[in-house]
């Protein structure tokens, strides 16, 4: 009866979010007095997982599973749960995990809680804290089924190193034709760009930047910080930036360590999407902008002067602290 964790990888490498869900799984396993089994798809070197609490790794090597496929991955995970007699399954909240988790939950007849930010309150009653109302509140949800699926929000639990080494075992689930009835024909992914989902730092611009031609300074600042770029809703609605960068209640949630908002007023719908970010910096020429109430640090002034200056100073700082 181990805790099962779905470890996402990209080209054989594990994302930070995967190591974080492994850490979470370890936390649950300790509460239940059991071990952690990780499931990986097409990843060779799994030694890193032991460091984050995984005791055993089921390695699935199957060329048909090279592209993510929600139905097939959910089916494979279900069989891993059956094999390990797992009572708790932990997944991240990446786009792919959010896609497969509800399918998996139904196949397992399991209750599923998404956007979870803490370990269960006790091993006997599985009550987890989750964000609700797009980060405007938390709900404490009791998963009452025998098997439980938990989706853990990014950066909510953090990485916890453990002493240990993971043993590896090959695992070949039986996949059926129906598992492949949704087929990927094309993937269009920015290769060397930090994405909002993975970013530790997000630099975001609003309507205050006046036009798409002014985004150069946002991108420069993001590059210096190794950050992802983002924007407010009107900015993507006007086509200045792609929809995928729109942050907020109707866009993407951000759970980065640092969120820098430039020329964004801080409307309630925007703030809802960034509440889960740890530290917020706002740069705005209007001292009355509501964002100043939500921010940790603020600079009142013209973004067109401040942002390039800040970028230069950050470069100097980086050079000194490299």
């Amino acid at each position: 009866m181990s805790v099962l964790v779905y470890i996402e990888s990209e080209e054989g490498k594990f994302k930070k979010a995967s190591l974080e869900v492994a850490s979470y799984a370890k936390g649950v396993a300790q509460m239940l007095g059991t071990t952690v089994t990780g499931v990986v798809f097409n990843a060779e070197d799994v030694s890193e997982l032991g460091t984050y609490g995984v005791d055993k790794v089921l390695k699935i090597n199957n060329s048909k599973l090279q592209d993510f496929n929600a139905e097939a991955y959910a089916d494979a995970l279900k069989q891993a749960v059956d094999k390990e007699v797992s009572k708790v399954v932990v997944v991240s909240q990446s786009a792919n995990s959010k896609y497969l988790a509800p399918l998996l939950a139904v196949h397992l007849n399991a209750g599923y809680a998404s956007n979870v930010v803490s370990l269960p309150e006790s091993a006997s009653s599985f009550v987890v804290k989750r964000t609700a109302f797009t980060n405007k509140a938390f709900s404490f949800t009791n998963i009452t089924t025998d098997i439980k699926v938990v989706g853990v929000s990014k950066n909510a639990f953090g990485l916890k190193e453990a002493q240990g080494a993971a043993t590896a075992e090959d695992f070949s689930p039986n996949l059926s034709e129906e598992d492949f009835s949704v087929n990927v024909t094309n993937v269009d992914k920015a290769k060397d760009k930090v994405t909002i989902a993975d970013a530790e730092i997000v630099v975001s611009g609003g309507r205050g930047l006046k036009g798409p031609e002014n985004w150069g300074m946002i991108e420069d600042l993001a590059e210096t910080l190794g950050a992802a770029t983002a924007c407010s809703k009107p900015v993507s609605d006007m086509g200045w930036r792609p929809h995928s960068e729109h942050v907020g209640q109707t866009g993407k949630p951000v759970a980065s360590n640092l969120y820098i908002a430039i020329g964004i007023s801080g409307a309630i719908q925007h703030l809802a999407g960034i509440n889960a970010s740890k530290v917020k910096v706002v740069i705005n020429n209007d001292p009355e902008a509501p964002f100043f109430k939500a921010a940790d640090y603020g600079v009142v002034g013209d973004a067109f002067e401040i942002v390039p200056k800040l970028n230069e100073k950050l470069k100097e700082f980086k050079a000194k602290n490299a």
């Binding site: 509140a137 929809h243 209640q249």
Partner: protein
Amino acid sequence: MKILVCISHVPDTTSKINFTDNNTKFDTNGVQFVINPNDEFGLTRAMWFKEKQGASVDVINVGGAETEPTLRKALAIGADNAIRVNTPATDGFQVAKQLANVAKEGGYDLIIAGRESIDYNGGMVPGMLAALLKANFVNTCIGLEVEGTQAKVVREIDGGKETVTAKLPLIIGAQKGLVEESDLRIPNMRGIMMARKKPLNVVEPVDVTVQTKIEKFEKPAPKGAVKLIDPDNLDELIQLLHTEAKVI
């Protein structure tokens, strides 16, 4: 093509969130309810199919009588029929079960739900519904074309997008990008008048075993005041981010 659009009845995005009954119930006092934004993108795409390719569009909600104005709004936008499953929505699985029960009789080619509702943000209903109906499912859908029984779907992934193909019947989790914001419709007088005459069927729920239960709510702790930094002293900001906040 027969389309079903699942409509969640949610607090307007500007709503202040409060709780009553010892923090166990959402306080609806003074809250305006709307069609869930993700569902609205889906409904608009359904209207496009209806007008351009020929389709009938039903809308469905699981909820008490208080959700009917939201369904009427969907009718005013152009849906043909509305269905309300007469039970309060308690969790994603319960809603999916009720929807599946109605949908399996309906012979729908396409079922559109929102990626998530903006109240509980569960992101469960479309996937669970698909699994219960054993139908194909594509989440975070930002593009959809249907030709005969074949669908081509664009889905947003972390850091990009992906094109997939699947046969109908298909269930999608819709979101912003599926249609342009400017294409969203506001019901006009004629639509509102017509909606009054359109059928709104109330069906009784089936029994569902509870899987998750919200025990209480909590609001985030109030934040300390912002630290303002002189624009001529940006070094201070960098120092604070480095030593105090420890984020750079």
